[in-house]
């Protein structure tokens, strides 16, 4: 049987099967599910960053009409697991609050309005404690320990390559830079929420939640509520964005599920925007102190990076965010460049801020910005063109598989090629000439580059340490296919891409494949979606399942057409004998035969057409790559930055659906613009979060995002189908490209951006300082 197929759908711009319902507003999210008798929960959240709870008086709250219960920790004494650091978060604060927004009490009432009325009537006596908000001070346990029983620094690790010191010291040039990324979060359009339904007949508990890892959520709920796993069913309906935020396990889910169980009623909680900004996983918040050694040619010989990461008050189960951020940023520190030596030191601390978790790209955006800024700084110090310095350092085609100094093995990519193509798209030489003229006219336009490497489909990610995915495939008697997957799409279009891959294996129309996901009763066990794993691992499983079903169809067709199996082709809804298309049978007939005309089956063949396949890629990860190029104009009088042009050359191996890939890129670039120029969760010196609405936490709108040009290069991976993951690369690369462009625009003033996001006021101050200095000198 030939494995070579003429793909009809793979690689095509198939319109997303999801879009019809999404664009018509017919998709159903958690809050759209209404069950009679549902109770609603409102949480009282801490308004202190650090305080001892002296008392909680719920008497008045209980008297509000419609209130069924008011819980504190004593009523729901469950703590999220955290074995490594012993700081598990109680689902409702126990004795002490450690961040603003931490749930302290829960009101369960017959409507959210009444629940909120009651929340206002809960009286909490706090004894304030000094808040730990500065990560450097926190390292020295100043002003105090966040968790009394343990030092704030919960992680310290180093990695130094052999010969680092010599390489660093003997280099002719050195420079130092300190980078700072402020706190951000992956704002999802749909806030978090869940709905738990007890079934008194079966004793089962069904939990609806917007989540990236249905089985992960089920496992945690079963464990914490002490229920057998098969008694818990998780249903993830449509999800309005996840970005990693919804891969985590949160205390509210436990309270809601436990309330449903104990009160015997459906119970729902939908987070509002303020809750979302206060208590969804935060991200970034790290300092990188970097030293670079390089030679006259601009070749970078060694890089030292000391990272201080602030993870907030608690560690999310399985994913203390600061560790994820720092690990990714430093493991990928050398990016696409052949830098032989690194010395890395990571310190992570607790603080009185919301817990840090994963946000698209995790440490990737920071790592990529640091890596690109290093190159740009070297270029500036040597008076060389930044592109020249990139060319001098890039990993070339002959270097693959490339072993990084941090122990990663890159599979082949198109690093130099993507850079050259991006430059050609904007006519780089010409841009430099124009730039000079504009400067003479007082217009400050800059070009920034980010040549990124995106690790994807890792054996471990925020989706857990499940290195495989599973797909079950059932061809129904009429020849249409029902597939079920364990991934947890939050807008990525799995229903379409997986259908494309399966349809090509079976020679049927993409519309004849329905992909189910998100229901643990129907989906095979899987890790879910995170770490750009679904396309490669889930897609691989879809291909494998398709192949298995194809084998059976081929066997059956060969038997019925009296031909050799290797001569059978499946295409356009038919099985036929190669070279003799007239000798054919429709796939529909094959399916019908397999179920209802079983006397015609070959000897030993089981009736029915149903398979399950699991797929684990051969490598620990596969690396996508590409180049982002941003052109910005900076108004040096107001500090306003406008993105004028944006080019992406992306290589994620074999493209399953270029339109979906481009959609991912558009969204990631938009988030990257936000990361570089707008988004900032700001805590004041008392640990109060001052950005608790979208009027203060600024997100880019359509007007702030330029039309971008996207091109593709396809360097296949060794994974099934040659696919590489690409969900995060665009947000990994965009902030670095924008930051570099702003630095380039402001080069005449000697400005070099190291802190993100860039505030307009800083730009004005930098430029004025430079002007003052110039006048004084």
């Amino acid at each position: 049987m030939s494995e070579v197929l003429k793909p009809q759908f793979t690689g095509a711009r198939v319109t997303r099967l999801e879009d019809a319902r999404l664009l018509r507003g017919q998709a159903r999210y958690v809050d759209d599910f209404e069950y009679p008798g549902t109770l609603e929960v409102a949480f009282l959240r801490s308004n202190r960053a650090a305080a001892r709870i002296q008392s909680v008086d719920v008497t008045e709250a209980l008297a509000v009409p419609g209130v069924k219960a008011v819980w504190t920790f004593a009523d729901c004494p469950i703590t999220l697991p955290d074995r490594p650091f012993q700081v598990g978060q109680p689902v409702l604060a126990r004795d002490e609050v450690r961040f603003v927004g931490e749930p302290v009490a829960a009101v369960i009432a017959d409507s959210r309005y009444r629940a909120e009325d009651a929340v206002e009537k809960i009286r909490v006596q706090y004894e304030p404690l000094p808040a730990v908000v500065d990560s450097r001070a926190a390292l020295a346990d100043q002003p105090r320990r966040v968790h009394e029983h343990r030092p704030n620094r919960f992680l310290h690790k180093t990695h130094v390559t052999d010969g680092f010191n010599e390489a660093f010291q003997s280099a002719p040039h050195h420079l130092e830079l300190t980078f700072r990324w402020n706190r951000q979060t992956g704002v999802t359009m749909e806030t978090r929420g869940c709905l738990a339904l007890p079934d008194p007949v079966s004793g089962r508990l069904t939990v609806y939640a917007g989540h990236q890892s249905p089985h992960g959520l089920r496992g945690m709920l079963a464990r914490l509520l002490k229920l057998p796993e098969h008694q818990v069913r998780v249903v993830v309906p449509e999800v309005g964005g996840g970005f990693g935020i919804k891969a985590m396990f949160y205390p509210e889910y436990v309270v809601v599920a436990e309330a449903a169980r104990r009160l015997g009623r459906p119970v729902k909680w939908i987070g509002d925007r303020m809750e979302s900004l206060l208590a969804d996983a935060h991200a970034r918040d790290a300092i990188h102190e970097v030293a670079v050694a390089y030679d006259d040619e601009g070749r970078i010989l060694a890089v030292r990076d000391h990272v201080i990461g602030d993870t907030g008050a608690y560690a999310f189960p399985g994913f203390p965010g600061a560790v994820g951020e720092a690990n990714w940023a430093t493991e990928m520190l050398t990016g696409p460049y052949k830098i032989p030596h690194v010395s890395i030191e990571i310190e992570c601390v607790f603080s009185n801020k919301a817990p840090l978790g994963p946000y698209r790209g995790v440490g990737g955006p920071i790592g990529a910005q640091v890596q690109e800024a290093i190159v740009d700084a070297v270029a500036r110090a040597l008076g060389k063109d930044p592109v020249e310095v990139r060319r001098a350092n890039l990993i070339g085609p002959e270097d693959f598989p490339y072993h990084t100094p941090t122990g990663k093995v890159y599979d082949p990519g198109s690093y130099g090629e993507s850079l050259e193509r991006a430059l050609a798209l904007v006519d780089y030489e010409r841009f430099r000439k124009d730039q000079e003229q504009w400067r003479a006219q007082g217009r400050y336009v800059g070009l920034g580059l980010c040549v990124f490497v995106e690790p994807s489909a890792m054996a471990e990610s925020e989706a857990g340490s499940i290195p495989y995915e599973a797909v079950t495939l059932r061809m129904e008697p009429s020849g249409v296919v029902t597939a079920a997957v364990g991934t947890g799409p939050t807008g990525q279009g799995h229903e379409t891409t997986f259908a494309q891959l399966i349809a090509d294996q079976l020679g049927i129309d993409v519309k004849d494949v329905v992909v189910l996901h998100g229901d643990t009763d129907s989906a095979p066990f899987g890790g879910g979606t995170g770490g750009s794993r679904s396309g490669t691992i889930g897609g691989g499983a879809a291909i494998r399942a398709g192949q298995a079903l194809r084998r059976k169809l081929t066997q059956l067709a060969a038997h019925l057409l009296e031909a050799a199996e290797e001569d059978i082709r499946l295409e356009a809804g038919k099985a036929f004998v190669a070279g003799v298309p007239a000798r054919s049978i429709t796939i529909r007939d094959l399916a019908r035969t397999a179920y209802t005309d079983v006397a015609r089956l070959p000897e030993g063949m089981q009736p029915g057409l149903e398979v399950v396949a699991r797929y684990q890629p051969p490598g620990a990860a596969t690396y996508s790559n590409g180049t982002h190029l941003a052109v910005v104009e900076v108004d040096v009088e107001t500090g306003f930055v406008k993105v004028l042009d944006y080019v992406v050359v992306n290589d994620c191996g074999v493209l399953v659906n270029p339109m979906i890939v481009e959609g991912q890129i558009h969204g990631g670039v938009a988030q990257g613009i936000g990361s570089a120029l707008l988004e900032e969760l700001r805590y004041d010196e008392n640990g109060q979060l001052t950005t608790t609405s979208l009027m203060d936490y600024l997100l880019p709108t359509a007007e702030d995002v330029p039309r971008m040009r996207v091109e593709h290069i396809q360097t296949p991976s060794a994974s099934e189908g040659g696919i590489k993951g690409m969900g995060e690369g665009s947000l990994i690369a965009a902030p670095g490209a924008i930051a570099a462009a702003v630095s380039d625009a402001l080069a005449p003033f000697g400005v070099f951006v190291t802190e993100l996001p860039i505030r307009p006021q800083q730009i004005v101050a930098w430029v004025q300082a430079a002007k003052t200095e110039a006048q004084a000198g």
């Binding site: 009088e637 500090g639 600024l698 007007e703 101050a765």
Partner: protein, 294 residues
């Protein structure tokens, strides 16, 4: 983000509205576009026991010109003023300001009367109305009175309206000479409130000298502020580069900004200077051909 329980009234005449306001007093809030009030209610910063919805009162809608004065009904939406072509020549600040307010959805609902009554120092209409020299028409049980915009704003979220008074209209005199105006605003992203903003309106005499000047500043003090010194320095002057430079430097002198999330006081002062200079240069350019030739 769920409001407290409240009663809802929807009067269809101004008299009924005023009677209801009187009846419920401090417990009541008037609902215009709802674009400031409803978010505050959802956050439970405002918790009125009664909402008096004035959307059904026809007397508050639309505009008309009487004896050289434009009277804009309080319920006129930002979007209506943004798109009112017939007002663009004589009342250029209306459209130029409206287009900077929030986003199209909010502009479709929000009203000029609601914005002024709300007295948010970051709102754009306050600065623009200072520049245009507007008067606010208030109506209470005792009848109507006109309040010069300079006396209207008292403090952040506080106006000189009596508790039982409504804003019913805004009055702006029609300029007699060549007029041009600019509204300049720095927002970090489309649809945001201003870091700082400036409304400038200039009317020339027949010699091409400034006859009337209005400069209002937004988000640079507890209330919208007038750049009095800069205005005085403009009167009687031609709009030369030299004048513009001097005047722009004077603008921040009347500002009283504070440090906040959007920027430091110093930065905001600087923005005012930059905007004044840019606005006056553009106005000078626009008015070049208009003197004498009309």
């Amino acid at each position: 983000m769920f409001p407290n329980a409240f009663e809802y009234e929807a009067p269809t005449s101004l008299d009924d509205a005023i009677r209801l306001i009187r009846e419920h007093g401090y417990d009541a809030k008037v609902l215009a576009g709802g674009q400031s009030l409803l978010p505050m209610m959802k956050l439970r910063i405002a918790a009125p026991a009664v909402l008096i919805d004035i959307n059904g009162i026809d007397e508050l809608k639309g505009w008309r010109e009487v004896d050289g004065t434009l009277r804009i009904g309080a319920m006129t939406r930002h979007a209506e003023l943004e798109h009112a072509r017939e007002l663009a020549d004589s009342f250029p600040l209306l459209s130029r300001t409206a287009r900077w307010i929030a986003d199209p959805l909010i502009r479709n609902r929000g009203t000029i009367g609601g914005s002024l009554a709300h007295a948010d120092p970051g709102a754009d209409w306050g600065a623009a109305m200072l520049a245009a020299g507007a008067r606010i028409e208030a109506r209470g049980p005792e009848g109507s009175r006109l309040i010069p915009v300079d006396e209207f704003f008292v403090d952040t979220f506080a106006t000189s309206l009596n508790e039982d008074e409504l804003v019913v209209a805004v009055h702006i005199d029609k300029p007699t000479g060549p007029v041009a105006a600019r509204y300049m605003k720095l927002e970090r992203k489309a649809g945001d409130f201003a870091i700082a903003a400036l409304g400038v309106q200039v009317e020339l005499d027949s010699n091409g000298r400034v006859a009337k000047a209005g400069i209002g500043m937004c988000a640079c003090g507890p209330i919208p502020l007038r750049a009095t010194k800069a205005e005085a320095a403009l009167i009687g002057q031609p709009l030369t580069d030299e004048t513009i430079k001097t005047v722009s430097r004077l603008v921040p002198e009347d500002a009283d900004p504070t440090d906040d999330l959007r920027g430091s006081a110093e930065y905001k002062r600087d923005l005012l200077r930059v905007f004044a200079s840019r606005a006056l240069h553009e106005i000078a350019e626009e008015l070049k051909g208009k003197v004498g030739g009309q």
